[in-house]
């Protein structure tokens, strides 16, 4: 292969850049995988993003990818691009423990469907990334690469911190309340949660079935589009998968300046410094000819969060109570208590919440009628300290209704050097619109620097 770009910069490549350079034979998949494994040696003592690295299989896959290139074989869109998977995604032949000690030696024989589709697109699984236990809110050991005293968020802690720390260009995550977008915001990564039913969850350990979404952490909007192109589409073996046409997610041309609906409830919930930041972002977007008008979610935020909580806690209890009895003392403290209390909630209340969910969904659809996307802070504040994974109250509303949402880095708080982020939301099945709007914002907002880690 021809000389690669400066090896020290290989870890800075986004997935799209890596895919393009690999296709042009300017970067070798073998060299890229080796470089990222070396990168892990340097930053893992600080970040702790990987749960299980799989260097030998990653190297073998990289050699096979390189061989395919040399033979001019037909290449998938992610050919030779390394990725990580949150440790609640089953991976064939590779430990999948979900942060649960009794599963420490659990090795699935089949890949979860998102992992399988990524592999079919040519991507190389480098390993599994730290999750909070069963994707709930007990903090994990992962640290925020911007400040080891701060949480990376959760539950996709390792996926977000690892992508931000340049350990891997993209990683699978999952979201039931805010577990993709909030870690994305806290770590300065891009996080996408597609429409409920757009991406299969087969082989992904459930937390709350009607709220769980497969998502992705990346360092560019283009990478979210590339990811979605590889994994979107109906899966007849996943009961939650919905058979909808899959459009092209390719980002072409310069979109017109969008119309944003600035979500009043999001601004009210934010801390003063986040509110001030959103006002600044609004001014930047307006100066680039976007329109920004205030909208409401159409139902009170406390009701939306109450409905989300009731449904999530009841479903989590249903998913976990038998496991709790089979393995006493093995669940993390908050999850155990959440399941125990969830078992006490009456069925009539759960169904009442599900009925309210439909009303909330209709209201949010109306909120989006005259705008291209909703705009609000992803999180109410920057990453807090390590005793929590943060507040999901601004991400959970869109997990409840299943609308696609995306977190985009929008600056760095000074002093302190912690990432800030905006959240964008579109109606269901409108990921192409969401990505187009996000790409437009990405072009008009400051570029996110790398976190302060060793080179």
């Amino acid at each position: 292969m021809p000389d690669a770009p400066q090896a020290t910069h290989l870890h800075e490549l986004t997935a799209s850049e890596a895919a393009s350079l690999i296709r042009q034979r300017a970067v070798s998949p073998v060299e890229l995988v080796e470089h990222l494994l070396s990168r892990a040696d340097v930053v893992e003592p600080i970040v702790h993003a990987w749960e299980t690295l799989d260097p030998e299989r990653a190297r073998a896959a990289a050699r096979a990818a390189e061989s395919a290139i040399m033979q001019d074989a037909e290449l998938g869109p992610l050919h030779g691009v390394p990725f990580g998977a949150k440790d609640i995604f089953d991976t064939a032949g590779l430990r999948s423990a979900a942060g649960f000690p009794p599963y420490a030696h659990r090795i699935p024989s089949v890949d979860s469907e998102p992992v399988a589709r990524l592999k079919r697109a040519g991507a190389i699984l480098v390993g599994k990334m730290v999750t909070t236990q069963f994707a709930y809110s007990d903090p994990s050991r992962t640290r925020n690469p911007w400040s080891p005293e701060r949480t990376p968020g959760g539950s996709s802690s390792g996926s977000a911190a690892g992508v931000a720390a340049r350990e891997v260009p993209f990683a699978l995550g999952s979201q039931t309340a805010g577990s993709v977008l909030r870690p994305a915001a806290y770590n300065g990564a891009v996080g996408l949660k597609p429409t409920y039913g757009r991406v299969s969850k087969r082989g992904v350990f459930p937390l709350a079935w009607s709220l769980d979404h497969t998502g992705v952490l990346t360092r560019s909007v283009e990478d979210c589009a590339l990811f979605l192109s590889a994994v979107a589409g109906h899966d007849a073996d996943d009961p939650a998968s919905i058979d909808q046409p899959v459009p092209s997610f390719a980002l072409a041309g310069e979109p017109r300046p969008p119309r944003f609906g600035l979500v009043r409830e999001g601004i009210e919930r934010a801390t003063p410094r986040l509110r001030q930041h959103l006002e600044e972002v609004g001014r930047v977007l307006e100066s680039a000819q976007a329109t920004v008008d205030e909208v409401s979610l159409g139902e009170p935020l406390d009701l939306i969060l109450g409905v989300h909580h009731t449904i999530m806690q009841t479903e989590t209890a249903a998913a976990h109570w038998q496991l709790l009895e089979q393995h006493p003392g093995m669940h993390s403290p908050r999850l155990r208590a959440y399941v125990e209390v969830g078992r006490l909630l009456p069925g009539a209340l759960y169904l009442h919440a599900q009925r309210l969910r439909r009303r909330i969904r209709a209201a949010m659809t109306r909120s989006l009628r005259n705008v291209d996307a909703l705009l609000l802070p992803t999180a109410a504040d920057v990453a807090p300290t390590l005793e929590t994974t943060g507040d999901p109250s601004l991400q959970a509303p869109f997990s409840l209704v299943g609308f696609p949402s995306l977190s985009l880095p929008s600056g760095v708080l000074e002093p302190g050097g912690l990432p800030l982020a905006i959240q964008l939301v579109t109606p269901p099945w409108q990921e192409a619109r969401l990505l187009s709007v996000a790409r437009w914002c990405e072009a008009h907002l400051p570029r996110m620097p790398s976190p302060p880690l060793p080179a």
Binding site: D302, G306, E340, L349, L356, G402
Partner: protein
């Protein structure tokens, strides 16, 4: 602004949930901080959801994403 933490309806629901928890898991377990926090959060959610009136012929509960 009304503070849900001191709303009598929420406090009554919290008591009801706590009694059910004690009957199921025992006093000692229920006194632990994670259970106390989970009870408080659940009471707030249940109380807020219960405030909303729906007619039987209103929205149906299932096919939530259709």
């Amino acid at each position: 602004m009304h503070d849900p933490a001191v709303d009598p309806g929420r406090l009554a629901l919290l008591d009801e949930l706590r009694l059910a928890a004690v009957a199921t898991y025992g006093e000692e377990r229920v006194a632990e901080q994670p259970v106390q926090m989970a009870l408080a959060a659940a009471a707030t959610a249940v109380w807020r959801v219960s405030l909303e009136q729906l007619e039987p012929s209103g929205p149906e509960p299932l096919r939530t994403h259709a």
